[in-house]
């Protein structure tokens, strides 16, 4: 404090130094994840699925939609088909590996969409208050008061089923929940002295909401986003199960269960393996959320 450091050492603004700082910060954060057992297990499960999904074209033993008519006689797991085949003779392992790809794209994208929309709504409601708050919270309540599955059926029946439409629907139905969380945090954060300081130097409301308030709401927001991603995996499965998910014949975990659950008494593996895939991914996201909250509380 007493020794003024020469201005030359103030390399804080050079791009190389800031990049190095960025790398260091992220390395520290990743190392921190290892300190929480749930977070570490959750990350391991999620990463395993991501790797498997990316490598699906290379490691899947069969094409996802190839029918092995011969295998129909013995649909149960065998050396040729590790997880067996379905009622059309398609290799379940290959279909699960390929089926991971749409889930791992749609679920996170839908969460990001919901987080973006929900954060904006929540920030505006919490920051401005008054009638803006009233309109936004009531609109959120209305969306939330619908039984979600019915809402999906109506929307998807009207617009047809595609990956983008699923993302859109999930974004719309999850955004109100995120908006509520962000609104609550904004009500508290907008009273902070750094917000008053920002007002006093004439910052715009947009700047105050996005730069001064939102970064400080990120802790609970990230935890919630992890949880929501897990829930989205379930919902995508449920949509597939109801036949309003991704259009056939491309593999989709929920759709695989729908096609085969009627044969549970004879060939339980056909529905069980896709179910196990869904559960493991959901558990992965939940564990990560638990771990992140634990780490957040510790600091």
């Amino acid at each position: 404090m007493s020794t003024p450091i020469a201005a030359g050492t103030l390399s804080a603004s050079s791009p190389a130094a800031s990049r190095a700082r960025f790398v260091r910060r992220w390395r520290r954060r990743i190392a921190l994840l290892g300190e929480s057992t749930p977070a570490a297990i959750g990350i391991a499960i999620i990463l395993a699925w991501v790797v498997l999904a990316m490598l699906a074209p290379l490691i899947a033993p069969y094409a996802p939609n190839a029918n092995d008519v011969m295998a129909l006689a013995h649909a149960t797991p065998s050396w040729a088909h590790w997880l067996g085949t379905d009622h059309l003779g398609r290799d379940i392992l290959s279909r699960i590996l390929w089926g991971a790809r749409p889930v791992l794209v749609i679920a996170p994208l839908a969460v990001l969409g919901a987080a973006a929309l929900g954060s904006l709504l929540g920030l505006a409601a919490g920051y401005y208050g008054r009638w803006i708050d009233l309109v936004i919270t009531r609109a959120c309540d209305i969306v939330l008061s619908f039984p979600v599955i019915i809402l999906y059926m109506i929307i998807l029946a009207h617009f047809g089923s595609s990956a983008w439409n699923i993302i859109g629907v999930l974004t719309l139905t999850k955004a109100p929940i995120i908006a509520r969380i962000v609104r609550g945090m904004t009500l508290d954060l907008r009273e902070r002295e750094y917000v008053a300081a920002a007002k006093m130097r004439g910052e715009s409301p947009i700047y105050i909401m996005l730069v001064e308030i939102l970064p400080n709401a990120r802790g609970p927001l990230v935890v919630d986003m992890c949880l929501r991603t897990g829930y989205n995996v379930i919902i995508i499965g449920a949509l597939g199960f109801l036949g309003i998910g991704l259009p056939p014949p491309d593999p989709d975990w929920g759709g695989m269960v729908k096609d085969t659950y009627g044969m549970m008494m004879v060939w339980p593996h056909m529905a069980l393996f896709p179910c196990a895939a869904i559960s493991s991914l959901v558990v992965g996201f939940n564990l990560l959320a638990v771990g992140l909250r634990e780490l957040g509380l510790r600091d």
Binding site: I5, L10, G202
Partner: protein, 687 residues
Amino acid sequence: MTDAPLLAVRDLRVAYATRGGEAVVIPSVNFQLNAGEALGLVGESGCGKSTIALSIVRYLGRAGRLVGGSIRFEGRELTSLDETGLRAIRGRRIAMVYQDPMASLNPVMAVGRQLMEAPMTHEGVSASAARARALAMLAEVKLADPAAVMERYPHQLSGGQQQRIVIAMALITGPALLIMDEPTTGLDVTVEAAVLDLVRELRSRHRSAILFISHNLGSVARVCDRVAVMYRGEIVEDGPVRSIFSSPRHPYTRGLLDCLPTLGSDKHQAPLVPIAGQVESSLTRPPGCGFAGRCAHVEIGRCTSYPIAAAPVRGEPEHHVACVRAEELPQWTRRRGSDVAHEFAAATEAMVAVHHLTKIYEPRRRRFRGTRAPVRAVSDVDLTAARGRTLAIVGESGCGKSTIAKILSGLEVATAGGVTLDGVEVGALAVDARGPALKRKLQMVFQNPDSTLNPSHTVGYAIGRALRRLQGRAPGDVAGGVARLLEIVKLSPAMAARMPRHLSGGEKQRAAIARALAGDPAVIVADEPVSALDVSVQAAIVNLLTEIQAARSATLVFISHDLAVVRYLADTVAVMYLGTVAEVGPVERVFASPYHPYTEALLSAVPVPDPDHAGARILLEGRVPGAGEIPRGCPFATRCPRRVGPLCDETPPPVQRFGDHRIACHIPGGELARLQTALVEPRSIGR
């Protein structure tokens, strides 16, 4: 009284689990407490005083661990006692009073039942006997109408009343030891004075020993027989209260006493004397004296090689000090800074003028439930701050001082009346309605170091952003300006890359001052800027503010509840009570008789770190009118010790003018002067 002490702590060693392994926070602490004695434990934040209190009742939590040593209480060893044994002692033989009374009281239970609980569970007495005891105890803690108080819930009582209830709860079982951890820290000064007097009085009656933990040397001086000063987990000096305050031996104790502004000193004499450096962590420890890094008398080698044990001071067997150089140090006299005081701009025209300012908060309309009365936060206030001078606004919580700061800064707008800033009317202008020049002209320093900087951005970003907004600099062109501002507030330019969580409270406040200076403001509004800081850091920040003010001829509007700091810093003082100005004038006139009766009470309540301080205290009785009530007469009438009669309740007090000194009171100034004795030593006497 038996020969064995009531409480004997020997070689107590406590460690906390941290991410980097176990850290010893209390290496070895020894002290004892006799029956009926009051020991004060003082030190700045993080020095381990609360850890010691928690160790005694074994409430260390999961992270803390008693590593070694012994705590003997009434002949029993507490360190090895099991939960059942501890339960029999906690609450019954040892009671605790904490800082926040709301945290000790159950919000959904009437206080009477909470009071009766302890005798009923610990002693198995009947409900009616417990009720009688509770009533008697409430009368003892001087709560009016005990029977009515019994039925109240905690939220229906004021902070001072709540703390009295907690004290009554602690004393109702007749404990042998009462541990009080910062019991008056959250209270207003007049309430604090009353609670401290109560503790003193109860002590003599109940013969409970008291372990009194506080960072405030003044309140310790008022209550305790003996004092132990802690630094970095060690007791560096202990002894009878008189010896500690009149001839402190340890450089840290001396530093603590030196850095306090007193009611008799001001900025025109000399700067305050802060302790060099900042409070060091108890988690790490050098091999020698823990204070060596900040000590002006350090001798490398002797002080820094091996642990220093406490030894009795020659001629004072009761007084121990852990300093190898204690005998060599010169005799202590209350030191004043050796630097020359700054030159301040001469008063010229008014920079900030507040005229007939009124702020009324309209309650939200509530359908079906009727409307609540509007709250008058500020009513009809007139103040001026001359260019380059300091206007201080003092008063207790809820007096409207922060509302005035918010109106000045445009975070709120006036309901009526106005504010001129360098001749421009701004009272009705919210901050976004003010032009860039007006924004630049007035900036603010806030109270809470933890929320004044955005935890998500670096210090450099915060200051750089202010430079960009207020001076229109380009984003690439701020690094030099940031470094220069950091230098002005005496922080290293490398701090720019740090996140606020890596800064100490004092450093955060410096960075916030640098941010406020970015637009080179003509007026700095500082709302309690040092209230949340440790005393040694507080002195440094006060010095920094005076220095900056002198260097830039900036006008400072300083809002505080601390009269000693105000006395030191201000040129003009306004004393506020319930939204009105009770008294305003040049600092030396306000701090001298005749006082407004409220100023008189405030001044007499200031805890002075001198056990021989013989000022008579004026205790305020009566109720503070609620937020929605607008007194018809004098707002202070309900509590005023010099109330003359119904006149005070009925008619607003006339403002009496003695030159630039104004007092709003029905009692004529001459009469006030005759009734009052001087509470502050005149400046000329000095020390």
